[in-house]
């Protein structure tokens, strides 16, 4: 059972990690907790459903399930990425120099807006996520098993995280992002277009959240207008656990949280599975507010 719970935890954790990256990237640059991010995740799931429906109507990729999923994932990531950029432009940019509470409230506003928009325009009922990947279950010795869906979720997530890591570490825009997150004023004086870096950050963070939405929809088989809330808060917990603002921290935090939650569900009670995440959030905030990888932050003078 331990092994099985680890596999489930890894699956859950990779989804949390993808969402957590969106929180941590934005926080790293703007010191803003983007509460609209859980709705970006939800929108990603819907964009996934819509693009699968369109592909079906157009009869493309129908015989090739992996191609189908890859294209739906890409379409959803592009749409959520653009949505993220629009949200930043409309809701946060005008408040760039306002007190920090203002964009936070604006973020909550965007979150409420997107939820209600989807509820009214699409449906208040949950929608079935179209079947794509044929479900295989692979035995892993003993009682443990892993499904084809779980394999895809883990592989896609890890690949996206690796790509993000390489992008941040080695590219010019990645360096510009790191420079901006360390000292935006100086970055400007070194010729970096900080507004563009911020837009890019929102695009990447939202696209990763959108990917997580699609994977989550595939895993649970349905999407709903309020599906973002719980995973969003858990991913935020993961980001805090890893040290908010730290990219590797968000990845590790996501996996740690997913695994702890699965173990808790397996060994204690699945009815309490949401409780574990929030107990962890409270414990981290009390005993190690800077997170696992975060450094103690001294206030700038």
């Amino acid at each position: 059972m331990l092994f099985q719970q680890l596999i489930n935890g890894l699956t859950l954790g990779s989804i949390y990690a993808l969402i957590a990256l969106g929180y941590t990237l934005v926080y790293g640059i703007l010191l803003l907790i983007n509460f609209a991010h859980s709705e970006i995740f939800m929108m990603g799931a819907y964009f996934g459903v819509f693009s699968l429906m369109i592909f079906e109507k157009l009869h493309i990729f129908q015989g090739a399930p992996f191609m189908l999923v890859a294209c739906a994932l890409a379409a959803s990531m592009i749409c959520t990425g653009l949505l993220g950029v629009i949200v930043e432009f409309a809701a946060y940019r005008p408040l760039r120099n306002a007190p920090r509470l203002a964009p936070l409230i604006s973020a909550i506003g965007v979150s409420i807006f997107l939820q209600n928009f989807m509820m009214i325009v699409v449906s208040p009922e949950s929608k079935t996520f179209p079947d794509t990947i044929p479900l295989h279950v692979y035995k892993l010795g003993g009682t443990a098993s892993i499904s084809s869906l779980q394999v895809i979720i883990i592989v896609v997530s890890v690949a996206l995280m690796a790509a993000l890591h390489l992008f941040i570490k080695y590219t010019k825009m990645g360096k510009a992002m790191r420079a901006t997150s360390q000292d935006a004023e100086t970055a400007k004086l070194m010729g970096i277009n900080v507004n563009m870096v911020i837009s890019l950050t929102f695009f990447i963070g939202a696209a990763l959240g959108g990917a997580a939405g699609v994977l989550n929809g595939m895993y649970y088989g349905s999407v709903k207008y309020n599906m973002g809330f719980i995973p969003g808060i858990k991913a935020f917990t993961a980001a805090v656990l890893g040290g908010i603002g730290d990219v590797r921290g968000a990845m590790i935090g996501g996996f740690v949280l997913g695994i702890l939650e699965s173990l808790g569900a397996g060994y204690v009670s699945s009815a309490y599975k949401d409780v574990f995440a929030f107990v962890i959030l409270i414990l981290v905030l009390v005993f190690r507010p800077q997170g696992l990888l975060g450094r103690k932050i001294s206030n700038k003078v």
């Binding site: 010019k172 990645g174 510009a176 100086t186 004086l189 070194m190 900080v194 890019l200």
Partner: protein, 258 residues
Amino acid sequence: MENKLLETENLTIHFGGVRAVENVSFSVGEKEIVALIGPNGAGKTTVFNLLTGVYQPLSGAIRFKGERVENRKPNTITRMGIARTFQNLRLFQNMTVAENVMVGYTCRMRGGMLVAILRTGPFKKLEAAAEEKAHEWLSFVGLSARANELARNLAYGEQRRLEIARAMATGPNLLLLDEPTAGMNPAESESIMELIRGIRDLGAAVLLIEHDMRVVMGISGRIIVLDYGEKIAEGRPEEIQKNERVIEAYLGKKAAKG
């Protein structure tokens, strides 16, 4: 001084009731080394902040290579060719020494976001070029050996040199140095002076704020003196040394008369 690289005209900025900079006009020619001096609080760093777009002037004009600079964003001004260092070091502490310099070079790299994301052919060439440029500037300031260390692990004097390398990587025609030798011993100051002359020989003009008079008198072709936000004198080092208003500003009225 026929070719004026930078020209300010009646530059003025007030903070509340404080006239931080008042009607300051000066110019810097191509390949010239000019020092901006004055007692603490005279408005020297504020002038730098005006020149680089951190502050917008209340009135007055700034022209660089004949183009207006006011109301432009700092990153645009850097692209136009003005780079600077900071009085209190402002390196990207958690990036390596080489990465700091590459960030400076970023604004000289063509290829937009799409190229960077898609990692197309020209992109790889650009990255390689950036790395090469970074190493060139690091060897220019003598930090090649420390390229892969985190910036925060450098000694103080090395951090100052790294700031200069990072600023030079932006490809400036005018380099603004804010107290480049602050906190340095005479030998270190001497080597920074060499560095500044080297920069001038590469074709850039240098405007520096400096308190160490040995440095100021040693390298500047011209000196501009500010006091309480106003320009009180301008001239060659030997003229400034004898200027009564300057002595008065630094030492007080009595000393000037006695």
